[in-house]
């Protein structure tokens, strides 16, 4: 392999790694494409093309030799906005020539390995408090604050547990909202809470697919019709899962 060829492959490797981290962390499709192409351009690639969908990346760089193309499959998608920010700042540094390729690659590997910003406990706590606050925002009374906090926290815990048991997101969301509704019903029937509707709505909010919905709209607007539609379908499926979980409990009311 000539040096030129090797260099092109290295560029592809760095770009794909950046794209993979961003896509797995929940960045918008157009941002992933844009970042990869900017990085390739900064490394001196004459022309590059990227095709990103929520489940895979196809990236090709044109050079003196025949065009090189690589495909990368993305299987698990989480939400980690911190990683998106980090990769974004690395891409900025590369574009302004502050970072050489080897350094960038090591920095990206470091980001890939790093864990999440907050522990699961803290996330559950945040979800619990957010549930209580949503109850107040939806004109609930402070009496129902604590039941909503407990139901919301338990909801996220059961979502995480269900997803580790069965790796189907739809099922985990269904179980979580089912447990939330059951717990709220229990609180109301025991007399600790008063408005069943408000407690359920507040507790279910941490499961609402807000990120996917925003990304779907932004991708559609940026012209990424395939990604936009598939993310929209994902959001719709999540909403349906939450709704049916609650509906099961309401039927027996």
């Amino acid at each position: 392999m000539t040096i030129q060829q090797e260099y092109t492959y290295d560029v592809m490797e760095v770009c794909l790694l950046a794209g993979k981290i961003m896509l797995e962390s929940g960045a918008e499709t157009y941002r992933v494409e844009d970042t990869m192409m900017r990085m390739a351009q900064a490394f001196g690639a004459k022309e590059s093309h990227s095709y990103v969908t929520p489940t895979g990346i196809i990236f090709s760089i044109e050079s003196e030799q025949p065009t090189k193309t690589k495909l990368f499959r993305i299987t698990n998608r989480t939400t980690d906005l911190h990683k998106v920010t980090l990769v974004n700042s690395i891409s900025r540094k590369i574009t302004s020539k502050e970072l050489a390729m080897a350094e960038a690659y090591h920095a990206l590997k470091e980001i890939e390995k790093s864990g999440v910003e907050y522990s699961v406990k803290l996330q559950v706590l945040a979800a619990a408090i957010a549930s209580g606050c949503f109850l107040i925002m939806f004109k609930g009374t402070w009496v129902d604050f604590l039941p909503a906090v407990i139901a919301g926290g338990t909801g996220l815990v059961s979502f995480i547990l269900a997803q580790s048991l069965v790796p189907i997101k739809f099922f985990a969301e269904f179980v979580a909202s089912l447990i939330i509704a059951l717990l709220s019903l229990f609180f109301v029937s025991v007399g600790w809470g008063y408005e069943l509707d408000k407690i359920i709505i507040g507790s279910v909010m941490p499961l609402v697919p807000g990120l996917v919905l925003t990304n779907a709209v932004r991708d559609l607007m940026a012209g990424h019709l395939v990604s936009g539609l598939s993310k929209g379908a994902e959001a719709l499926l999540t909403a349906f899962a939450i709704g049916s979980g609650v509906a099961v409990v309401l039927t027996f009311l």
């Binding site: 998106v84 999440v116 925002m137």
Partner: protein, 152 residues
């Protein structure tokens, strides 16, 4: 109580920042974004404006402030606006619609679901509006050579 609404919306949006693993120093900014959007929504609905235009205005403000923050701190806009629009999502209406479906009151359920759909559309439209305005401002400010490709 508007103070109550402001505080709870601030806390809940910042908490969503934690759920989405946003950076520690951006949590306060997330809270500010969410609080402003919810403030506009609550004030408008209190004055008798319908929920659809109120959501439109709320998400417009959310996107506007997110863009300002994104440019100020050189971070992706997604960090701020994702948490910011969460309070505006019509969770309550969707729940009511679902409840009426379950109780076999299809007429009420359909009309509630349509309303929830309209509000979701209004949120999306608000995001897009401010996007367009942002692009127009940037295009008019920068010479065309610097402005190569939109980064939204």
């Amino acid at each position: 109580m508007i103070i109550e609404q402001l505080i709870t919306s601030f806390i809940s949006t910042a908490a969503f920042g934690i759920i989405f693993n946003a950076q520690k120093d951006s949590l306060i900014k997330c809270g500010i974004v969410g609080m402003s959007g919810w403030f506009i929504y609550v004030v408008m609905t209190n004055f008798g404006v319908d929920a659809v235009p109120a959501s439109l205005a709320g998400s417009f403000i959310v996107a506007l402030i997110s863009q300002t923050f994104a440019r100020m701190y050189k971070t992706p806009i997604i960090i701020f606006n994702v948490a910011g629009i969460i309070p505006l999502v019509p969770g309550g209406l969707a729940y009511d619609a679902m409840r009426n479906f379950v109780e076999n009151d299809y007429n009420l359920a359909i009309s509630l679901a349509a309303k929830a759909g309209l509000i979701s559309g209004a949120i999306a439209l608000g995001l897009v509006f401010s996007e367009v305005i942002n692009q127009l401002i940037r295009k008019s400010k920068l010479p065309p050579k610097v402005y190569k490709r939109s980064r939204l």
